[in-house]
């Protein structure tokens, strides 16, 4: 089994492992959103997702035109 310690060595690997555990802890701590997911909140978050997808597509298109 591949481990971070195996890839990066014990010293750097343990530092990376520490950070991974920290991030994992944050993800667990905030796994469940505290705000009540009312229809209004759901719609707002959905629109935000669509907006971000639109921006990503736009940036992708810009990158594509630059590469041409």
């Amino acid at each position: 089994m591949v481990t971070v310690e195996g890839v990066f060595g014990d010293r750097i690997g343990s530092v990376i492992r520490g950070w991974m555990n920290k991030i994992d802890g944050i993800n667990r701590k905030y796994a469940v959103p505290r705000i009540t997911m009312s229809p209004g909140v759901k719609i707002a978050l959905m629109l935000l997702r669509l907006y971000l997808v639109f921006l990503v597509l736009l940036l992708g298109y810009k990158f594509y035109t630059l590469m041409q």
Binding site: K22, N27, R34, G40, V41, Y51, L52, L55, L58
Partner: protein, 422 residues
């Protein structure tokens, strides 16, 4: 009660009110004057040179825009005792939390570079090499936080914020025609007709009024200052006065460049200062000092906004009231952001123009999210209790947020595709 007693009573009451205000003021004034950062000063300089006094009326509209958005951060911070980054993680979960946090870290770092660009360009006018500027600024900014008291940091920051008002005497130095300023500036109109160029400038001006770091900074500052629910009215007054100052400074700068550079093709505040300094050394010096101060003020707020956010998310001690040994990671983030951003400016042939443009695009990805989260949080009764938004506040906030999102998005798109609307 006779006249003397009434006067004395009112005088004492006024002094008491002023004392409490001076004690509780700070975050609103600092964030609002820092809003006129290097990018903001450049925008206003170019606006004045391009349109004269013609867009002053539009700058006045930015006062309620800035106030309505930033006032919400005061209430949210005072009620939840949490910074904006932590509030997003807690309320919306880790996906939106990480998105906002990483986006903030990136956009803040890039904006910090633009502040250093502004500071080095301003001092280059006085033949001070960028290396000296970056080194001295970094040392001063480190000394500001090392004393281990939020209160002391805030008062030093307020001194630098006061220097932002240098554009007010500068405007008097150019002897503008007051009648013309009022007649041209205060009557809403579109100088030269509504066209792509004008629309770009309207977007740029509104885009510089609300930046993502401002929301995160003020909420964290309110928490670090220890403001409570009962202090909210003072925080609101602080924010209102700050909003007024930010607009006043912008208007006076537009008056300066609208008077002496109207019709010139100016691209930056540093360029304007170096042109003016030839014919009017004092005025040129004032503009250069103002630009340096704007970059400095922006830099101290932005680097702190990032450090607070890192501390909130990773659970590290994060307060200016703590010494370095008590909050090592908080100060490490602060120093790292400063030194790395300053170092980028010193790299020969670094793509600084590209970075400046990229900031506008990246900011567009974060600003709508930060604003939408702000409104959702302020409408949550469980979180805000009786301090949640009223119907009137919601109408104002939602209208302003929608306008900001649309205009800042168009601004970002125009930056990506310059020929789109011109």
């Amino acid at each position: 009660m006779d006249f003397g007693s009434t006067f004395f009573y009112k005088y004492r009451r006024f002094v008491k009110t002023l004392q409490i205000y001076l004690l509780l003021s700070g975050p609103g004034l600092i964030v609002m004057l820092a809003d006129n950062d290097a990018g903001g000063i450049t925008t206003y300089t170019v606006t004045g040179a391009k349109f004269g006094y013609g867009l002053i009326w539009f700058l006045l509209l930015l006062l309620p825009v800035a106030y309505v958005v930033q006032e919400m951060t005061v209430r949210l911070g005072a009620v939840t005792k949490r910074g904006h980054a932590e509030a997003i993680f807690d309320a919306f979960g880790s996906f939106w939390g990480w998105f906002s946090f990483l986006d903030l870290a990136l956009v803040n770092w890039l904006t910090l570079i633009t502040e250093f660009i502004g500071m080095t360009a301003a001092l280059m006018i006085f033949h001070i090499p960028p290396l000296i500027t970056v080194a001295v600024v970094s040392v001063i900014m480190m000394l500001m936080v090392l004393q281990g008291r939020y209160w002391t940091w805030e008062k030093i920051a307020l001194l630098f914020a006061a220097l932002n008002l240098i554009y007010i005497p500068a405007a008097f130095m150019v002897h503008p025609s007051v009648g013309e300023v009022l007649s041209v500036g205060l009557i809403p109109h579109f100088p030269g007709g509504f066209n792509g160029t004008l629309f770009f400038f309207l977007m740029a001006n509104i885009g510089t009024t609300i930046a993502p770091w401002m929301i995160f900074f003020q909420q964290s500052a309110v928490v670090d200052k220890g403001m409570k629910e009962k202090d909210i009215p003072w925080g609101q007054m602080d924010t209102l006065i700050g909003s007024a100052f930010t607009v006043i400074v912008a208007i006076f700068l537009v008056v300066v460049t609208g008077t002496v550079l109207y019709g010139s093709e100016i691209e930056s505040a540093a360029q304007a200062a170096s042109i003016i300094i030839v014919s009017n050394p004092w005025l040129g010096t004032f503009i250069a000092i103002g630009l340096f101060d704007a970059g400095f003020l922006g830099a101290i707020c932005i680097s702190l906004a990032s450090s607070w956010a890192f501390g909130e998310v990773f659970g590290w001690a994060h307060s200016l009231n703590l010494k370095i040994r008590e909050a090592p990671w908080f100060y490490t983030c602060y120093f790292f952001a400063l030194i790395s951003a300053g170092a980028v400016v010193l790299i020969p042939n670094a793509p600084l123009v590209l970075i400046t443009l990229f900031v506008q695009v990246v900011a567009v990805t974060l600003l709508p999210a930060a604003l939408v989260f702000l409104i959702l949080l302020l409408n949550n009764e469980e979180i805000m209790g009786k301090y949640r938004n009223t119907r009137l506040q919601n109408i104002a906030a939602i209208t302003i947020v929608v306008v900001i999102i649309v205009l800042s998005t168009l601004y970002g798109i125009t930056t990506l595709f310059p020929g789109l609307i011109t």
